[in-house]
Amino acid sequence: MRLVWKLLRSHVSVSQLAGFFLANLCGMVIVLLSIQFYNDVLPVFTGGDSFLKKDYLIVSKKVSTLGSFVGKSRTFSERDKEEIEAQPFTKGVGAFTPSQFKVSAGVGMEQVGLQMSTAMFFESVPDKYVDVNLDKWHFTPGEETIPIIIPRNYLNLYNFGFAQSRSLPQLSEGVMGMINLEIRISGRGMRDTFKGNIVGFSDRLNTILVPESFMNWANQTYAAGEVKEPSRLIVEVNNPADDRIARFFKDKGYETEDDKLDAGKTTWFLKLIVGIVMAVGLVISALSFYILMLSIFLLLQKNSTKLENLLLVGYSPAKVALPYQFLTVGLNAVVLLLAVGLVWLLRGSYLDKLQNLLPGLEGGMQWPMLVIGFLLFVLVSVFNVLAVRRKINGLIKK
């Protein structure tokens, strides 16, 4: 083997192999980086509301000036609900149940001498629309603690507005989860205090959610228990991009909080751009593969007399091909390792920047990048090995 390599290494063109090496590295890094970037950035668009089921829309009736004056109903009747349920795109419909009692919430941080309190309201949706771990998202009468989901905006208002102007510490979502809100509820001459525990933040629900079990119990206890019609519905759909949805709601004069659609669009563009970048990377990889094959073929051609002699001495084509196969596979392996290293380096720098922008971002999984890198390596190597072998078999038949 050593002697075979000693024989065949002459005519190995370092510049050609370096050309292949750089080109392949370039292609590989582009492909892997685009995959990794996609995985890292995707949660920015799709994450956040992980405790709610994915494809849902929130529907309300339009609030118009005229409607307010003439007292047109802004709530959904049982018939409206049934009509939505009957639509082909609907998987399920849930109603937002509003609280019919008075609520105020306070945060006390005695260390800093701060007391805040605000009047607020609760709403609930059926539990099946909430994905929070079920042992966190429940309430049985007699308990002191109420799990709550609040809009992320509230936290931002505090962190970027209030806390900064008063030089108060900023709070992360994790810390907020540990703070107990003091919830005071009153109605029908009763007044009770509960502890509120924030279990999640929502970008999309502009409401304060509590478990349905609590809402039913509290509405009966602190209000007359009469059933009010919901003003908002949560509609689970099969495919939010279905254009029948938009048409139906437009016809009925309903409004949807359509940032879901925006997120869909953004993700789509992200996919498109990543796809284009990846295609460019793949093309570069393919071209580099072409350079390598040309270089190897040239090498084989220059060494053809030697190769022929090797075969006549009794070396098998497989043995003769081996040094070249080692060379190419070795190069590919080094390219893979370097590419993964480079992607990690680059990822470190862009993750830092992203995390400044979005503090919660943790970065996506890395295994898809590694798996695809490995697959590319295997694919290119197999092609190389076969091509070299074919070329040498061609020499025999000559």
Partner: protein
């Protein structure tokens, strides 16, 4: 491999000749393992072609060549690799050595493939053939006669049933030719192998069983 038979073999380039007078071309021949055959030929009569047909790297001939009764045109690449490693050895007229390797490496090259000889056995040959001082010298720096001796050693570094030598002593003096014949004869006897030598004038001195005119 016990026999090599040639049936009506003729190089295609000779096909349009009217009259061929040859002991080999267009004849039926059988060489048995252990026989020593001398093929005498004028240049241009196709002795290297004959060697290349039998060694399987050219097949532009008519007729049939068989090893043990099996037509060699039906052999696969793997079969040839096997035959060249363990049944058939060839000293090419153009030697086909590697000039960038040293004399020893050229021999070692074959021997690592077959693991047939000890390094010290090869050393004894180098000394017997009078080129022990060329052990580490790049082959390109050796004279053709010295290269012929290296090629012989390479050809002997494998088990074989037949060994073909295509003008092995063309560049050797009588004395060296004798030594070469002795080394070859000893090894062939040890293996019980047949020897086929071609020659255009100077013969390798062996006790030939058959002498053919090509």
């Amino acid at each position: 491999m016990n026999t090599i038979t040639l049936q009506q073999v003729l190089p295609q380039v000779f096909a349009d000749r009217d009259r061929i007078t040859s002991d080999v071309w267009h004849q039926s021949l059988e060489w048995k393992k252990g026989e020593r055959v001398l093929i005498e030929a004028a240049s241009g009569t196709g002795k290297s072609s004959l060697c290349s047909y039998i060694y399987g790297y050219r097949n532009d001939y008519q007729g049939i060549i068989c090893f043990d009764g099996k037509n060699i045109k039906g052999l696969s690449v793997d079969d040839w690799v096997n035959i060249r490693q363990s049944s058939l050895s060839m000293l090419f007229q153009e030697l086909r050595l590697f000039p960038e390797l040293s004399a020893w490496e050229n021999v070692q090259f074959k021997n690592t493939l077959t693991n047939f000889k000890q390094k010290k056995e090869i050393k004894v040959w180098f000394e017997a053939l009078g080129i022990a001082d060329k052990w580490d010298v790049p082959l390109g720096k050796l004279s053709f006669g010295q290269q012929q001796r290296v090629a012989l050693m390479r050809a002997l570094c494998q088990p074989f049933d037949f060994i073909f030598l295509d003008e092995p002593v063309s560049h050797l003096d009588e004395e060296n030719g004798r030594i070469m014949a002795a080394v070859l004869g000893e090894e062939a006897d040890k293996q019980g192998a047949g020897i086929v030598v071609t020659s255009i004038g100077k013969h390798l001195e062996l006790d030939y069983d058959i002498t053919l005119k090509l």
